[in-house]
């Protein structure tokens, strides 16, 4: 299967790695693997201590009003531009969507004025210059922009490992026209992994069905939430995959933490594991499973797959 994702202009610098609350607290390996890959791909980036949370969890749980989210987004854009790293690279698709949505809303003069009133108190302004400079990209887009360097960097082949993409809804469905590739058959994770010898799944039944997390739904309507997760797990199991690759910590969290629980309660087997795309790409490029990819933070046992690809045998980098 040849890659279906179109090439995009290579990003080499000016990147601010936008830290995510879920990544930091639940799967810190995703952040470290992303940084590790940026280094391998010669992407110049910073982590900005002035950046703050995107407010996604609070906003989607109806705890924060939208103007708050908007003001925070405007501030985050300002600090990135001030730091000379205007390409916000999101590890989480919610951060991506909420900031991108805010960018559009901030084009409405009334909302921009309102946000700027708040920003004025901290001596900042979201003006045309900031709006014209800031760019919002998912980390996978930045990695895809440099994907031609992957074949030369492979240290561990993943021959015979079958992977399927779980497309994140806040990446694919909020701005379907701005997705790199096909919003209904998102392929960057598999296309990134293709040179390593993985077997790609491509499209499968209910590919676009979501993970079930739904922010507060996970807490408020757990039975519906988990039923959707189970449905998706069954579909993935039908494809006989080894790894489901993710692009959003919300999905990864929902699947990874619930996988075994659902298996037990439903008396079914889903013989595969969940990894972030960055983690698996980094493993193929020789990264350490613990210090770089942070696999110990996973609830599932990923050791068998690590052994299968030889990640436990020797340090290669």
């Amino acid at each position: 299967m040849a890659p279906t994702t179109p090439d995009i202009e290579p990003i080499t610098g000016g990147v601010q790695l936008f830290r995510s609350c879920l990544v930091t607290t639940e799967y810190p390996g995703v952040e470290s693997a992303s940084k590790w890959l940026f280094d391998r791909f010669d992407v110049e980036y910073i982590v900005n201590p002035d950046q703050t949370c995107c407010t996604g969890l609070g906003y989607y749980s109806d705890l924060l009003p939208f103007p708050t989210t908007l003001g925070v987004a405007a501030r985050n854009a300002c600090v990135a531009v001030e730091a000379g790293h205007p390409i916000q690279s999101y590890l989480c698709s919610t951060c991506y969507a909420i900031n991108k949505k805010s960018r559009n809303v901030l084009e409405v003069p009334e909302f921009r004025k309102e946000s700027n009133k708040a920003l004025a108190k901290i001596g900042r302004e979201y003006n045309d210059e900031v709006a014209g400079t800031i760019r919002h990209m998912h980390t996978l887009e930045i990695l895809w922009s440099r994907h031609h360097s992957i074949p030369g960097l492979i240290k561990r082949r993943l021959d015979g490992i079958k992977v399927a993409t779980h497309p994140a809804c806040h990446y694919c469905k909020v701005f379907p026209d701005e997705v790199v590739g096909d919003a209904e058959n998102f392929m960057i994770p598999e296309d990134l992994l293709e040179p390593t010898g993985v077997i790609k799944t491509g499209n499968y039944n209910e590919k676009t069905t979501h993970c079930g997390a739904g922010f507060r739904q996970r807490f408020v309507n757990p039975s519906i939430s988990v039923a959707v997760t189970r449905q998706k797990l069954r579909r993935l199991a039908e494809e006989k995959i080894d790894v489901c690759v993710h692009m959003c910590p919300n999905c990864a969290l929902q699947f990874d933490r619930h996988h075994s629980i659902i298996e037990q309660s439903a008396n079914e087997e889903y013989p595969f594991v969940h990894l972030h795309t960055q983690q698996l790409v980094a493993l193929a490029l020789g990264a350490d499973p613990d210090t770089v990819c942070g696999v110990k933070a996973h609830s599932q046992n990923v050791e068998p797959i690590l052994e299968r690809i030889g990640a436990r045998e020797r340090a290669v980098v």
Binding site: A2, P176, D177, D182, E184, N203, E206, K207
Partner: protein, 1118 residues
């Protein structure tokens, strides 16, 4: 200037805000104004009379109108001026309504001041307005209709009826377009073909309609009325002699998906889309040489014999395989098969095993083939020196051309390297002998044991009755290698070693053999050594040493795998330093270890010694297999022939040496690689050259450049199911090493057919020529070429139609992945009595009648995602309703659900039809489908929301039909580019005005009809086609047209000939002419008056009528 100012009250619209009396007073002060009038409605009859009167009484030559927008009533006043013979540019406009009174009602004082400026500007402008000349163009009474669907045919008929000659051009092989594919049409449910067929026949018989199929329009130039049109007609490969008997399709072995049947079934490479097709001739879909044919040095139609094998027609396959190659059986075994490297199947999984299939065919059929001896028809004799593949091929080809040939061979056996270089376990001797026997059976004389330069000389032959000679002496000795110890006993040279072995001489090897080299000869020597050891009861102990790695090894991959299986040891990255001897015998080989460095000129990475890393292998036999050299005995008595760098010097086009009449080829004078197939190709070329030489014809024939090969697109390849090739059976290791039996087994019939069926038919027509043999009328003409033609026509109608939206783009709907998801058009074929199922509804996966059908509307239409189109495709609601109705009537028990967005049934009798079909029991559900999923039994799970009951449904269906929308066809996009027409959303041609000029395009003289303009049903298409025809008739009936007034013109005095105007003109209306002293010339008929050229002109020579710099600036500066 004598100017009259006419101010309009516009029934209070203007006068309610502006004080027109005061405005008149201000206007009066301008120079040149000699008359002022005002009226309630200046555009009315009273206003017109005022203008007429003023012109007559006051002698006006300019008119200033202060009224509404020029875009609104401008044409009315311009017409009045024209009719009063004031010329084309006598009116200036001041926009007092939309530009002043309407938008400044709140500020009347300021509005008044602005109105004064507006009138003042118009007066200022009027002063610079001069009359614009208009020319006449006389019109050709002929028209071009592009597209042979129902729109094109209808328009052509109408035009013919008006006595206009029509050139009807169609890119497909027959007329009929989309309508020919339909089963029935809504709302009357009458048969589509029944109404179309008489139209088709009518067009074919009409003497005024000139039909050209397989034809593209490549250029349209010139002005309306006298367009010059260039056409390119692709070859049909079938002549008018075709009687439509269909014998050819039975003979053709190649089946591909049928475009006419929308992929529902297959067609042959030679085909006719439907029985009533016009023209009724068949056509061959020939897309160039297949990659395999293109890659074969001898040009064998590999796709051709593979296709015939797949059909079990082995005799015919043999005929194709042996056509250019007298050694199919040999090549099936030992050819380097570049065809397989080129095979497109290799991009899907593994290449088709072309060589193995060739071997199968030759082994199966070869022996029984009766050789037809060709009589000698030429007096000249030809001498061939060397009975290898090059010499024997040349001899055979010359014999077939009617020459007497004699082959002189130095050895006591024929076959050259095939005989003396290749061991039996790869090529059994009887296989080779059989094919040589077939060559001698043609009358080729073999003289063995005759060494050129010793037993005879080439010059001697030419003096004694031979008209020409071909030197195919090969490379008969091993290259000399400078290595210490090469003289020791136990050192062998591979070519000589193998020759002794293959001639049956006694050969022995020691217990420890080392072979130096990485080519085929090295492997042959190594594997032979293993057999020599084993047949004498010893354990195999043979090591191959090679300077680079396996990746760089020139030998075939499968062969070194077999050798390793047989016990061969291989040392990579070692270079021989010295053969170490003890008492005059070999005892070891000293080796330098290497690593890979930079690539060399051959692109392979050069081995670089690792300083100080030297190793040694014990050995008692060392075989040197590091290249071959020419033996120059033949040069004796062969004047003017020279050898340079180990090769006979030849002219690469004719293969002639320095001596007239003496040619050379094969390994001794290679034009490609040193392989058997290259030698065979050289033999064929030499035969052609010798024939040309002897006949005195075009000796310096340049071989035609290879045509671009036909290859499936990456997208097509991606859709192919991944499989694998059928492996050849290998002799068991223990059996094969102890004997010289052939290692690789051949295919069985079943295996051969299965393997051949993997062919992707890249070129569609495989050039097997089965149709040529089958055609009773002799109508097949495989050498037809593309033709171009130029026509002059007065007007053009674009009727290039639509294509169905590619439903694959809506990935979750499963089209292209699930066999039981079809499109509405495919369903039309399944329901058509003339279709592949003869009108029986069968679901594709198993042919059963579906019990439950879901029809899914708005696929790719009314869709704002990037994979769909925003527009409504207009016909799908009723198309689905029609099919549901047809199915309900034939299979009342079938349950049909139509999932729609909105049900749209405007148009005569359409709503009534929708209600009727609802009453027939078809379920309509408002709601779009999220996803279609396939179950294990190929039934389909459809998830949809009923937005009326607000319920989410998930149901199983046997068949899902997608109502895929309409998009502009590829032909529409192409003609838009060629004709410079604008395309709107989804590529449909933009009409000049959506309401008032619905069949005119942006380009005068070119009209549009049918679905090329936008989605529509058949009656609307026909109405529009007739409208377009009427436009052409009214245009051409005038006899001449006036060129437009507002066009660019160039002042020759000022023009500097820079050509900027030509480069910016969007219509191509401005051209440089005048050779060395160029100046720009405007074609007034093509110019549409944008003025880009005037603004760009650096010298001020170019101007635009009605918008000169003076006119514009006069207005600006007020």
């Amino acid at each position: 200037m004598r100017c009259g100012v006419f101010l309009c009250e516009c029934g209070g619209n203007i006068s309610g805000v502006l004080d027109l009396d005061s405005l008149a007073d201000s206007a009066r002060t301008h120079d040149g104004v000699v008359s002022i009038s005002r009226n309630q409605f200046m555009c009315g009859t009273e206003g017109r009379r005022m203008i007429e009167q003023a012109v007559e009484e006051r002698g006006l030559d300019r008119i200033v109108i202060g009224a509404c927008s020029r875009r609104f009533q401008g044409p009315t006043f311009e017409r009045i001026a024209r009719e009063l013979r004031l010329g084309e540019n006598a009116v200036a406009f001041g926009n007092l309504r939309e530009g002043c009174s309407f938008i400044h009602r709140d500020e009347p004082a300021k509005a008044q001041l602005k109105a004064e400026k507006i009138v003042s500007a118009a007066v200022a402008r009027a002063r610079f307005q001069s009359d614009l000349p208009r020319g006449r163009t006389f019109l050709h009474r002929s028209a071009l209709v592009v597209g042979g669907g129902i729109a094109g045919i209808t328009a052509a008929e109408e035009l013919s009826g008006a006595g206009i000659d029509v050139h009807l051009v169609e890119r497909e092989q027959s007329l009929g377009g989309y309508m020919a594919r339909l089963s029935k049409t809504f709302p009357t449910e009458d048969c589509a073909m029944c109404s179309l067929a008489p139209q088709l026949t009518g067009a074919a018989l009409d003497p005024r309609i000139h039909i050209r199929t397989l034809t593209d329009v490549t250029e349209i130039s010139g002005p309306p009325g006298e367009f010059r049109v260039k056409l390119r007609q692709r070859p049909r490969f079938v002549s008018e002699a075709c009687v439509g008997c269909d014998d050819c399709t039975a003979a053709c072995p190649v089946s591909v998906s049928s475009e006419f049947e929308l992929g529902v079934t297959k067609r042959k490479a030679i085909s006719r889309p439907f029985a009533n097709a016009v023209p009724s001739l068949y056509a061959i879909d020939k897309r160039g040489p297949a990659p395999c044919k293109s890659a074969c040095p001898a040009g064998t139609s590999a796709q051709g014999y593979v296709a015939l094998v797949a059909e079990g027609r082995f005799d015919e396959a043999y005929r194709v395989a042996s056509g250019p190659n007298p050694f199919p059986s040999v090549c099936g075994r030992i050819c380097t098969h570049p065809c397989e490297r080129a095979c497109a199947r290799g991009e899907v999984d593994e290449p088709v095993a072309i060589a193995a299939l060739k071997r199968f065919v030759a082994d199966h059929v070869g022996p029984e083939t009766v050789i037809e001896k060709v009589p000698v028809i030429h007096s000249e004799k030809v001498a061939i020196i060397g009975a290898g593949p090059a010499g024997l091929t040349c001899a055979r080809d010359l014999a077939k051309l009617g020459y007497r040939t004699t082959v002189f061979e130095a050895l006591p056996v024929a076959g050259g390297m095939l005989k003396t270089g290749i061991p039996d376990y790869r090529l059994p001797k009887d296989v080779l002998e059989r094919e040589i026997d077939q060559i001698t059976a043609l009358g080729v004389e073999l003289k063995l044991g005759q060494r050129a330069g010793k037993d005879f000389t080439v010059d001697g032959l030419l003096e004694n009755g031979y008209g020409a000679a071909f030197l195919a002496v090969g490379l008969q000795k091993s290259s000399e290698v400078e290595i210490t110890g090469a003289e020791l006993e136990g050192t062998e040279r591979a070519v000589e070693f193998l020759r002794r072995l293959n001639l049956g001489k006694s050969v022995s090897v020691g217990d420890r053999v080392v072979v130096i080299g990485g080519g085929d000869v090295a492997l042959d020597a190594a594997r032979s050594a293993i057999r020599l050891q084993q047949t004498s009861g010893r354990e195999p102990n043979v090591t191959l040493v090679y300077r680079r790695t396996r990746a760089e090894m020139p030998a075939l991959g499968e062969e070194d795998e077999q050798a390793i299986e047989e016990g061969l040891k291989v040392e990579f990255l070692v270079a021989p330093l010295e053969i170490v001897g003890k008492k005059g015998r070999v005892s070891a080989l000293k080796l330098q270890r290497c690593k890979l460095g930079e690539p060399d000129s051959s692109g392979r990475r050069r081995p670089v010694p690792i300083e100080g890393d030297v190793t040694e292998i014990e050995a008692d036999t060392v075989v040197l297999a590091i290249g071959q050299d020419i033996v120059c005995d033949f040069l004796e008595g062969c004047e003017d022939v020279s050898v340079e760098k180990g090769q006979i010097r030849i002219d690469r086009d004719t293969l002639m040496t320095g001596k007239s009449g003496v040619f050379a080829g094969g390994d001794a004078a290679a034009t490609g690689g040193w392989t058997a197939i290259e030698a065979i190709a050289a033999g064929t070329r030499a035969a052609h050259s010798i024939h040309n030489y002897l006949r005195g014809e075009k000796l310096f024939e340049v071989w035609p450049a290879k045509a671009a090969e036909a290859r499936p697109s990456a997208e097509e390849l991606a859709r192919r199911e991944v499989g694998q090739r059928i492996p050849a059976v290998l002799l068991d290791r223990s059996d094969r090493c102890a004997s010289w039996a052939e290692v690789v087994g051949g295919y069985s019939e079943e295996e051969a057919i299965a393997e051949a069926s993997r062919c992707l038919a890249c070129a569609v027509c495989s050039e097997c020529e089965a149709c040529v043999r089958a055609c009773p009328a002799g109508a097949i003409e495989l050498d037809q070429q593309e033709e171009t033609e130029e026509l002059a026509v007065g007007a053009i109608i674009v009727a290039t139609g639509h294509k169905e939206f590619d439903a694959r783009r809506k990935i979750p709907l499963g089209f292209g992945r699930f066999s039981n998801v079809v499109t509405q058009s495919q369903l039309a074929r399944l329901l058509a009595p003339s279709g592949p199922t003869a009108g029986e509804l069968e679901r594709p996966s198993d042919g059963a009648v579906p019990k439950k059908i879901f029809m899914l509307q708005c696929v790719g239409s009314r869709d704002c995602t990037s994979s769909g189109n925003e527009h409504c495709s207009a016909i799908c609601c009723l198309f689905a309703t029609l099919h549901a109705s047809l199915i309900k009537q034939h299979y009342p028990d079938v349950d049909i659900t139509i999932g729609y967005t909105d049900l749209r049934a405007p148009g005569k009798s359409h709503e009534e039809y929708y209600r009727l079909v609802q009453e027939r029991g078809v379920r309509y559900v408002r709601g779009r489908v999220g996803e279609v999923m396939e179950e294990a039994d190929k039934s389909l799970r459809v998830r949809f929301e009923d937005t009326v009951t607000k319920r989410k449904n998930e149901e199983l269906f046997d068949l899902v039909v997608l109502s895929a929308g309409l998009e502009a066809s590829a032909g529409t996009t192409e003609i838009a580019h060629v004709a410079g027409l604008q395309q709107g959303s989804a590529g449909f041609i933009k009409e000049y005005h959506p309401k008032l000029k619905p069949v005119d395009t942006q380009r005068a003289g070119i009209f549009v009809a049918g679905t090329a303009q936008g989605p529509k049903n058949i009656p609307d298409t026909i109405a529009q086609a007739k409208a377009a025809a009427a436009r052409v008739v009214s245009m051409l009936s005038a006899g001449f047209v006036l060129t437009p007034a507002q066009v660019a013109s160039s002042n020759l005095e000022q023009c500097i000939g820079c050509g900027i105007c030509e480069s910016v003109c969007p219509q191509g209306a401005v051209k440089l002419s005048g050779g060395d002293n160029p100046h720009s010339v405007v074609d007034a008929n093509s110019c549409r008056g944008c003025g880009i050229c005037a603004a760009e002109c650096p010298s001020g020579a170019m101007t635009l009528g009605g918008y000169s710099d003076e006119e514009i600036l006069a207005e600006v500066m007020v």
